[in-house]
Subunit: 245 residues, 2 copies
């Protein structure tokens, strides 16, 4: 056990890589690395601290889940001033749904950094969301509520949360936009102008042109998401113009 | 409607009293009074803001509930390092149970400050807990997460949360203490030395003596609670002494 603990506590090249990865996905430098290491440790490692308490991500999941819920509650409360208690509760459960959290965790490639003695192919589908929650818990321990809020805002709310889409009013901005272009007899195209597919964290940047004029740009972890995000921006930009006309 | 709104927005003697009451129960001065006014406004008042959104405590309940959950999660996480996810979830649900929140709200006499057009006797039992949650939501809006945490710590955790009691290991420290005194042939008595029962917020201070020596003091909103708190302190103080002997 003490050998495993030494490995866990040691500073190494692996730590350096982990630190760089975290800095990239968090948008800030982690202070106390051990919280994050715990968030990426599976129970199969059998690690224990000096008091005999297990070192793995499970308790951090509980903490992160709570922080996620309250940050999203705060966001929805201010974002939808007309939504009643029932509406807010329903919207929040959509944002923090298992499916959604798994998607977030998968996009951040969290699983690539998990320490485990069982093959990763044997993990269930929820591993992605669970590690994502644990990561939020680790941020809370390392930097407090404000940083949690900032991370959730940047990695959950901005790229993934769209009230209209959650309400089922808009299924896809891309199809809305295409429909509009066809009706108005405009040419449109989506151009991927940046593709860091070889990088550890894939990023795609997309330009949306209508009649050869760039209307919107967006960046996301898949081509599909970047196109959708660019379409959403384009859609609102066009709406403004149409209202002005 | 505008008359009601003016009443709602006006500064008055009533506001002054409300401000004093809040300062007393919060332990700090509120900055933006309107958040708290909302937390104490029942839907029967039919108030609406300039955008037509209702002004009452219901949305704040949603917000406060989320903040309560995450503050208690943070507390339990650090307080019980050996508790697994399931344990932490169970303990939290005990702390934030409807019954418990109603008790908290009742002790703070929140209902006395609620604006409503229906008689308060017609409110359900949950009004106390609902207003308590709304109050936490108002604190979050007024002062942020840190103050929420502080308030919940001082008004929920310190006086009401005892891990051993929640785990069902200790039902009553008073009975434990009495048992011990009888076994050890010691005399004991509880003396109420402060009783602000005439005050808006009742407070009782109790001294616990064993063989004429003051072992512990405690203050609470009922005689029973103050005795229990003094017993708990006395119990731990005695345990230390017994360990030293």
């Amino acid at each position: 056990m003490s050998v495993i603990q030494n490995i866990f506590n040691s500073r190494s090249e692996k730590d350096g890589n982990f630190f760089s990865y975290l800095t990239k996905i968090l948008g800030f430098k982690p202070k106390v690395l051990k919280h994050y290491k715990k968030a990426f440790t599976h129970r199969s490692m059998g690690l224990k601290d000096d008091h005999g308490n297990p070192i793995n991500y499970e308790r951090l999941e509980f903490l992160g889940d709570a922080m996620l819920s309250s940050v999203i509650a705060g966001y929805l409360f201010s974002e939808v001033p007309g939504g009643n208690e029932g509406y807010l509760t329903k919207m929040r459960s959509k944002v923090v749904s298992r499916k959604h959290l798994n998607e977030l965790g998968r996009d951040l490639k969290l699983i690539d950094h998990v320490s485990s003695t069982i093959p990763k192919t044997q993990f269930g589908a929820n591993i992605h969301g669970n590690i994502f929650e644990a990561l939020v818990g680790a941020i809370y321990l390392d930097r407090g509520y404000k940083y949690c809020e900032r991370f959730i805002n940047e990695s959950v709310i901005v790229p993934y949360v769209d009230i209209e889409q959650l309400e089922g009013k808009v299924i896809s901005y891309k199809s809305l936009l295409i429909e509009w272009c066809q009706k108005e007899k405009k040419e449109f195209d989506y151009e991927v102008y940046e593709d860091t597919g070889i990088d550890e964290l894939k990023h795609f940047a997309v330009k949306l042109r209508i009649n050869d004029k760039v209307i919107a740009k967006a960046r996301a972890t898949s081509k599909k998401k970047a196109e959708e995000a660019a379409s959403k921006r384009g859609y609102y930009a066009l709406q403004k113009k149409i209202a002005i006309r």
